[in-house]
């Protein structure tokens, strides 16, 4: 983390802002190293005490017991304080230079396009709460030149992942998607690609770098994040057509894409939305086209009580209400149900650069956050 920018749209930090961001990073790290082990111990002890005749108590009972323990209360407060300070630190940095950022967006090379919909209605599952506790959520947008929400998101991404998601570009997930395709479908060369739920386009630009001649599209629900994403991509030399749409129902033609993918989007939707998104992927893919979804590496069948507590925090205190829902969702069955073939779902090792010559990483054991991702992919029959 320095005062230099990894791309022209990234808000530059001055001395004090950098100091504040480093403090947030240090505090989050402290909580992870010092409070989290206590939480782990408390959760396991509580679960053990509630166990009867070798049968684990329901998690809601474990949570009820934990709720009276200061270690649990302090852990939640500290985790969330770190998250809220992170957004505040990023927002202060962005607000100091907002005019400059909007001018920089206007000066981006004329690559790709941006289409926003003033009548767009944000899905209820996103409107109900600010995802990740980012004030304003994904959709905050105050003018037709506003890039603030995207700039804050981009500035905070590095702090959020403690730098484990591909450095300041935070683009690891895009590289993992391409690595997955190279392993499962060698030689696949998509000509028309769609990124669902692109936010500021970190993964979009990464995937586009492997398919420079493709007609590349990306959608999201927020006009502000899309405006930023368009400028960010153009400044980085990527021609991407961004539009404000829901992944559940797009305005793209039937059979019009070779590749439709998403990166850590499904867990921010809902039970019904995931089904609609898979159906929409099937509708807009050409026969022979690929659907690829990357998700957080959490599966209900392998989560212990500690995983339950962490998932519960994400759902209740970090405003990711479908976090646990997606972990228990049978995504490969859904993919088959909507008509995909050659479906597979498993963990994929993380990479920061995709290569057809890399050691295969799909189907490997789950190594945890930022070291593994959960993937589901399939092909539309025909082609």
């Amino acid at each position: 983390m320095t005062m230099t920018r990894p791309h022209p749209m990234m808000p530059a930090a001055n001395h004090d802002e950098l100091a504040e961001q480093k403090f947030v990073l240090a505090f989050k790290t402290y909580v992870w190293n010092n409070l989290d082990p206590l939480l782990v111990e408390e959760a396991r002890t509580t679960a053990r005490e509630l166990e009867q005749d070798g049968t684990a108590a329901p998690f809601r009972e474990v949570r009820r017991q934990l709720a009276s323990k200061p270690v649990y209360q302090n852990w939640i407060s500290s985790m969330r304080a770190g998250q809220e300070m992170m957004w505040q630190a990023a927002a202060d940095c962005v607000d100091r230079q907002q005019t400059d950022l909007e001018e920089r967006a206007q000066q981006a090379p004329p690559l790709g396009s941006l289409r926003v919909d003033p009548d767009f209605e944000i899905p209820a599952y996103l409107a109900a709460a600010d995802t990740h506790m980012q004030p304003g959520g994904y959709e905050s947008n105050e003018s037709d030149t506003d890039v603030r929400q995207g700039a804050i998101y981009d500035k905070a991404a590095w702090l959020y992942s403690l730098g484990r998601q591909g450095g300041e570009l935070a683009d690891m997930r895009g590289h993992v998607v391409v690595q997955h395709i190279m392993e499962r479908f060698p030689g696949f060369a998509p000509q028309r690609i769609l990124d669902l739920g692109c936010t500021v386009g970190c993964s979009t630009v990464a995937v586009a770098s492997y398919y420079p001649d493709a007609d590349f599209h990306a959608i999201d629900v927020g006009a502000g994040v899309l405006r930023y994403a368009h400028a960010r991509a153009a400044h980085m030399g990527a021609a991407v057509h961004f539009s404000q749409q829901s992944a559940e129902q797009t305005d793209f033609d039937d059979n019009s894409f070779d590749l439709v993918y998403s990166c850590a989007v499904l867990h921010e939707t809902s039970n019904q939305a995931v089904k609609r998104i898979f159906k929409e992927c099937h509708r807009i893919l050409r026969p022979g086209g690929l659907m690829v979804h990357l998700e957080v590496p959490v599966r209900a069948e392998e989560v212990d009580v500690v995983g339950e507590v962490r998932g519960d925090y994400e759902a209740r205190y970090n405003n990711e209400p479908f976090w646990k829902g997606i972990a228990g969702f049978d995504l490969d069955e859904l993919a088959r149900d909507v008509g995909f073939v050659e479906v597979a779902a498993d963990f994929q090792d993380a990479v920061t650069v995709a290569s057809p010559d890399a050691e295969p990483g799909f189907g490997k054991p789950n190594k945890g956050g930022y070291r593994s991702w959960y993937m589901v992919s399939g092909k539309k029959q025909g082609g």
Binding site: F23, S78, E84, D130, R316
Partner: protein, 98 residues
């Protein structure tokens, strides 16, 4: 500047379990204040570094001061010690709790 009152609040912010929600509020306030102390300390560090190299530590010079590796190493030690000092009671109470 546009009115962004709605972006200062968190929709869906759930209360932390515990006897008094003000504990959570106070923890947030203490950590925000601690971050200001840390920033102030680093700003003082920048002043001292500029002065040691014979430069005038005016506002612009400090705002654009890029810490060296040695600066950062020293600052990291201070930052970590500060957080440990402020948060030690949290860890201690957690250890007693367990």
């Amino acid at each position: 500047m546009a009115n962004r009152a709605h972006t200062k609040s968190h929709r869906g912010r759930r209360l932390v379990p515990g006897p008094d929600p003000r504990v959570d509020t106070l923890l947030g306030m203490v950590m925000a204040l601690t971050s200001e102390v840390s920033m102030l300390r680093e700003r003082l560090d920048a002043h001292e570094s500029l002065a040691a190299s014979g430069k005038v530590p005016d506002q612009d010079a400090v705002d654009h001061y890029q810490p060296t590796e040695a600066d950062e190493s020293r600052r990291k030690q201070y930052r970590d010690r500060l957080i440990d000092k402020v948060c030690r009671p949290l860890v201690a109470s957690g250890q007693q709790d367990g």
